[in-house]
């Protein structure tokens, strides 16, 4: 009896423990997604000739709120420019229409002011000034009325966005836009708290913070070398590679981050001879269920943009050039050691457009000032040879580099928030030069 009771008790406890263990295992088991096995197919194999001479391994951080802030700022800036352009057109038309009446008032006032002053004249001048002020207010009202009736849906939406973001009324905003000394950034400064509130509201409490670890590699495309830009000086045993620009060969943040362990020595250089970390590592998130694929991609792209900027800040191009000169001196030295000419040194020089290109592509978008500069370069170099930058060369040779400059700028700023005229400048340029627009 006693034994049976004891057994029952033990069994009861055992059942309890098994049940608890089951619950623990079930709740602790974080079900990871299992990748279904699929094939790896080779889509394309092509021959290239890239000499990679500098590598940067780095770590950056970016977040959804930073990206959405930048995105909202860009949208507001664009909206401001759109409304401003449209309103200024209306302003010019109305001003021209009523210019005779305004001039008439001003002439009358000026005439009276030049004469000897007396009580009647003083009262007449103030009366005229009052009338002019009324007339100008009437014109301003007309401008707004005209603007409202003329505005396209696009302008209407832009103005709505601006009023929603700033909380300012339309009249105040439009008045601001006519002032040549003021820009969007002044509006932004004045209403930054309101704009920030809108950003938080739009973000819908979502947040994603990613650390991105990856690499930027730079070097030269050896396929670009031809007899036109290779010069040999027998006197100095030196080979000159002219107008030979370095390129970013790779910019990667992969799911996993492989980097060489011995960052200070050059013994282990294999891709697989590495230490493993996450490439993109999510370090904080909130409201994940509302996050879209686009949100994730935007944050990841921002990480890549920052990594690229870091590599530029650490002079990756200068390093690539120095290392390429060293590597090619060694290679050509070995190749020429038993020939009739000896190459002891290789000197590389950039084309005229290289430094402009690096500068313009730093933020991967073309702004107003950059646009005007590029327009100036294209206008000057499309039809006449720059004999200082391209000494002893032809216009055809210069155009080859100008085409490359424009193509690179276009390709790398596609789908960025560029100044609105940028696309039409590119289209016109490629049309004139009979170059197919790259996808």
């Amino acid at each position: 009896m006693l034994l049976s009771n004891l057994n029952n008790k033990v069994l009861q406890n055992l059942r309890r423990y098994i049940f608890i263990l089951f619950i623990i295992l079930l709740s602790a088991c974080n079900i990871s997604p299992v990748l279904n096995d699929t094939v790896l197919s080779m889509k394309e194999v092509k021959g290239i000739g890239e000499l990679i001479t500098a590598e940067y391994y780095g770590e950056v951080i970016s977040s959804f709120s930073l990206v959405s802030k930048a995105k909202l700022d860009t949208s507001l800036n664009e909206a401001y420019i759109l409304v401003q352009t449209s309103y200024r057109q209306v302003d010019t038309v109305i001003n021209n229409r009523y210019a005779p009446q305004i001039n008439n008032y001003k002439e009358k006032i000026a005439k009276l002011e030049t004469k000897k002053t007396n009580a009647w004249r003083r009262s007449r001048i103030s009366e005229l000034k009052e009338n002019l002020k009324d007339f100008e207010s009437k014109i301003n009202r007309k401008k707004i009325k005209q603007f409202k009736s003329d505005q396209s849906q696009q302008v209407k939406s832009a103005l709505q966005l601006l009023t929603k973001a700033t909380g300012a009324n339309k009249r105040t905003l439009l008045k601001h836009m006519l002032d040549n000394t003021l820009e969007y950034k002044d509006i932004h400064e004045k209403y930054k708290n309101k704009i920030n509130d809108l950003r938080i509201k739009l973000a819908d409490n979502k947040e994603l913070v990613y650390i991105g670890r990856g690499s930027v590699k730079a070097g030269y495309n050896l396929e670009e070398l031809d007899s036109f830009n290779i010069f040999y000086s027998p006197k100095r045993d030196t080979m000159y590679l002219l107008d030979f620009d370095p390129i970013i060969t790779d910019l990667d943040i992969n799911p996993y981050f492989y980097y060489p362990e011995d960052v200070d020595s050059s013994n282990k250089l294999d891709e697989y001879d590495t230490t493993l970390l996450y490439g993109f590592q999510l370090i904080y998130s909130s409201q994940e269920k509302d996050v879209t694929l686009q949100d994730i991609n935007n944050v990841k792209s921002e990480c890549k943009r920052k990594l690229y900027q870091e590599a530029l800040d650490r002079n990756i191009y200068q390093n690539a050039q120095r290392n390429a000169e060293e590597a090619l001196s060694g290679l050509f030295g070995l190749l020429s050691s038993e020939g009739d000419r000896e190459i002891k040194e290789v000197i590389i020089s950039h084309s005229k457009y290289f430094s402009y290109q690096v500068d313009y592509l730093y933020d991967k978008k073309i702004d107003k000032d950059e646009f005007n500069e590029i327009k100036g370069i294209v206008t000057a170099d499309k039809d006449s040879l720059d004999e200082i930058a391209f000494k002893y060369q032809t216009l055809k040779y210069q155009l080859k580099y100008l085409d490359k400059f424009m193509l690179d700028l276009y390709k790398q700023t596609q789908r960025s928030n560029n100044v609105s005229e940028w696309d039409s400048l590119c289209s016109n340029y490629f049309y004139d030069r009979k170059i197919a627009l790259p996808n």
């Binding site: 623990i24 079930l26 709740s27 602790a28 079900i31 997604p33 299992v34 990748l35 699929t38 790896l40 197919s41 080779m42 889509k43 394309e44 194999v45 092509k46 021959g47 290239i48 000739g49 890239e50 000499l51 990679i52 001479t53 500098a54 590598e55 940067y56 391994y57 994603l208 590699k217 070097g219 050896l222 990667d252 943040i253 992969n254 799911p255 996993y256 981050f257 492989y258 980097y259 060489p260 960052v263 050059s266 891709e271 230490t275 970390l277 590592q281 999510l282 998130s285 269920k289 694929l293 994730i296 792209s301 870091e310 590599a311 650490r314 290392n323 060694g330 070995l334 190749l335 038993e338």
Partner: protein, 184 residues
């Protein structure tokens, strides 16, 4: 009560994900001298079921994630491993013994993950760890690609492309007979 404490503490302990124990110490520019002669573009369909978190996930309908992804590999030789004895010149003929070909760059960019609508729609998944799971999926996919690459015989293709490139390149330096060998 003791069962409840035991349950909670075990849950917390077991569900903590293992942190990465390695740290990345140095960010700097490294010098390199690598000649990439072959670019290979690979396609992989990434397909998985993403479930809700823990217990309630077991009872939830599965959500399929399906992406067409693309990886780009650059292969070539590391010129730093080349030394004087590897090059022999006889008049206009040259014999070069290059180091073994290797993968110089592996790129699996998020820009090349194309979601296959409408079978897969990440945005409608209402799970509070879906981003983590998505990243996990692509990490697994990268490992899978890296594991399968060795079966693609890329070494032979790269050796052939390297020969083609160097023969053309050296012809500019008046070498008419170019023999390229590779170290084993």
């Amino acid at each position: 009560m003791k069962y409840l404490i035991l349950l909670l503490s075990s849950t917390i302990l077991l569900s903590c994900s293992k942190p990465q124990d390695k740290t990345f110490i140095v960010t700097k520019i490294r010098s390199a001298s690598k000649l990439a002669t072959t670019e290979v573009i690979l396609n992989k369909i990434v397909w998985t079921d993403i479930k809700g978190r823990r217990i309630h996930g077991l009872f939830k309908k599965n959500n399929i994630l399906m992406f067409n992804t693309e990886a780009t590999l650059k292969l070539g030789v590391n010129l730093k491993k080349l030394n004087e004895n590897d090059i022999m010149v006889f008049g206009d003929s040259i014999v070069i013994t290059l180091p073994k070909v290797e993968i110089l760059n592996f790129s699996y960019p998020h820009e090349k993950y194309e979601q296959l609508y409408p079978i897969s729609n990440f945005d409608i998944i209402k799970s509070n760890d879906k981003v983590k799971k998505l990243d996990m999926v692509f990490r697994e996919a990268e490992t899978d690609i890296r594991n399968k690459v060795k079966f693609l015989n890329l070494e032979t293709i790269t050796e052939q492309k390297t020969r083609q490139f160097l023969t053309k390149f050296l012809a500019q330096s008046n070498y008419n007979n170019v023999v390229i060998k590779f170290k084993q």
